[in-house]
Symmetry: C2
């Protein structure tokens, strides 16, 4: 039984994949970016963060569990989000003085190396906003947790405007088109096997701002035009243009990483081989049918339309043979077909080592954060303690 | 016996390794670069082009052999060099109307993947200039054969000024310091095993100029300052600064390649692992002791001072174990030592697959093109025919 006045809420929130990249902060504390960015929000059917928050007068202390492990509550980013939520709340709410239990988990495939902080902070802030009755834009609050989390606050296609205010209150996300606008859009995430530890995006961006001589030019002169052009392409559902800008911007982000000193290298030989395969396929098809984009890691995120999925994934499967088919394909169902002989010849397909890819996730564009009203889905019991520990 | 009026000359010319990269042409026909560049000239003791040219009234047609194979004389770059030589010659010279036999060979390790055209055209133009008695700067003639060939016209440290004239006559190389200025400077070329065919630098540059949004900014704002700073560092023999600028400029060239559409990727996982090892070593040493630079391929060229060679090459040999030691080490003698345990631990040395490197060439900074006066060294016999065919 819940304590009489306790409040509990559970939300899920999506991952987003940027097509115009956020790379570099103008303000390290407020997480104001150097440039605007734009992303597609992925369906929560297959990849999502889930967070339950209880606020209750009976809780003795603030507690926070992530993926089954208790974390320190002394976390600056979490603290910034909470402070901003409480600042915006009605100051007469009694719950402002109560302690919180927060329990969060991601259902991403283990070791997929996919950024979870965007979904995580979007989920946290969505749940907090409900508990504390916050109105108006809350994407700028999610931004305080993890920059790109603000883009996970909306479904469909989302534009994060860097804003011009010093306090960052206008550095917010806006939906430019809902998921339903381009229903054929699919996403394939090719998880690249790579054991090496890498520098995180926070560190890479910071070093980039400090040492790259090209990053400012990119932020000031290249990105604004690309944001405009790709927004237009999305509105018109012009995949060819959308794909070209997406690939160019991914490459430019990694160019900036290489121009950083010492350089940050996230893409591997396999990442580049995937990019090469996409260019060869598009060239064979006579226009762009697939677009790749890479974040701060070796995994490829591919945008493509539904009619292209079967053929392209069959080619990927031929070029990068899986080692263990168990759990290799995840997400929406995938079917394979024989690759036409002329494609094999024209693309000069060369097979890579078995196991170069770890898994393939098939998903689509989806909705923003959602409240889960079914109380059996809460991650916390009535005492504010996680129901399950792994 | 030579024909009475025939003239024959043999030259050798060096390879050069840029520390500020030439990447992008302002004029595709005249080979005028987008930006200045700067290089070290390598000793001809180990790597050189050698060219013999005979000009004789008895020759029936122009002939050209390269590495033992006859080539078509109908070669635009060769033609441009020849035309410019003849234009500058005393127009009363009878040899202007005679035919030529040209025989050229490189002694670079087979399949080293090292650019040979710079040494080749420097050698060709040096020999032609002697035959036709050309005076004044001839680096702008070598440039017409292969842009970076102009830098191989001088020994030591060489600055190619892009010039401002439309005809390119002031796009010439100048020595900023002779080889003797920094006698401890050594070069290690780590030849990376990589079977893949790559796009050449000509194609990569052209596509870069057409599609990279960052290349112009680099050429206009980044390079001029770097040329100034690295020239100063060379003059002062300030290795720490020299190394930082060298590595930054190599990385920026490859950043531009990645910003090209579709991207040009020359560096492999092994190339990046070498760069990472250099940064780890420098960090351990507290200042830059080794500098890497990469051209349009996966091979690393390392600049370092003599006292550092033994230790660093021992580390390289540990991290990248050779598969077949036969012919693996080339050039100047190399000795190895045990790697101190604290280096192994501090650098977190991880061993790569046996055979990741194909060979290591140890060389130094050297002189410009030289005439070989010993007539037994000519590559052509008295009839203008190659003495040996392989």
């Amino acid at each position: 039984m819940e304590s009489k006045n306790a409040k509990i809420v559970t939300c899920v929130a999506p991952v987003n994949i940027a097509v115009i990249k956020y790379w570099g902060k103008l303000d390290e504390e407020l997480l104001i970016p150097l440039n605007d960015s734009l992303s597609g929000t992925l369906s929560t059917d297959f990849m999502r963060a889930k967070t339950t928050i209880m606020v209750s007068p009976t809780l003795q202390e603030n507690k926070f569990w992530l993926n089954g492990k208790e974390q320190s509550f002394d976390n600056k980013r979490l603290d910034n989000c909470l402070k901003e939520i409480k600042r915006r709340a009605n100051q007469e709410l009694p719950i402002l003085n109560w302690k919180l239990s927060i329990c969060s988990e991601n259902n991403f495939p283990t070791a997929a190396g996919l950024a979870s902080s965007a979904a995580g902070y979007a989920c946290l802030v969505s749940a907090l906003a409900i508990l504390y009755d916050i109105e108006g834009d809350i994407s700028s609050i999610a931004r305080r947790g993890s920059g790109s989390a603000c883009r996970s606050m909306y479904g469909g296609w989302v534009h994060w405007c860097k804003g011009i205010k010093e306090d960052g209150l206008d550095s917010i996300a806006k939906q430019i088109a809902p998921a339903s606008h381009w229903p054929e859009m699919r996403v394939l995430i090719l998880v690249v096997s790579d054991g090496k530890k890498k520098y995180g995006s926070t560190e890479g961006m910071k070093r980039g701002v400090e040492t790259s001589e090209l990053i400012t030019y990119r932020a000031q002169y290249v990105v604004p035009k690309r944001i405009e052009d790709i927004s237009e392409a999305i509105k018109k559902r012009d995949f060819n243009t959308f794909a070209q800008i997406t690939m160019q911007d991914s490459n430019q982000m990694h160019a900036i990483c290489l121009d950083t000193y010492p350089p940050c290298v996230y893409m591997t030989n396999v990442s580049h081989a995937i990019a090469g395969l996409v260019h060869a396929y598009n060239s064979y098809k006579g226009s762009n049918k697939v677009a790749y984009t890479f974040d701060a890691g070796p995994n490829a995120c591919l945008y493509l339309l539904e009619p292209e999925v079967e053929e392209f994934v069959s080619i990927v499967n031929y070029v990068f043979p899986p080692s263990d088919p168990q759990g290799y394909f995840q997400g929406m169902p995938l079917s394979m077909k024989d690759i036409p002989q002329d494609i094999k010849l024209s693309l000069d397909l060369e097979r890579h080592q078995v196991g170069s890819l770890k898994s393939i996730i098939h998903t689509k564009i989806g909705e923003g954060p959602q409240i889960i009203s079914d109380s059996t889905c809460h991650l916390l019991n009535d005492l504010g303690v996680p129901k399950q520990t792994p």
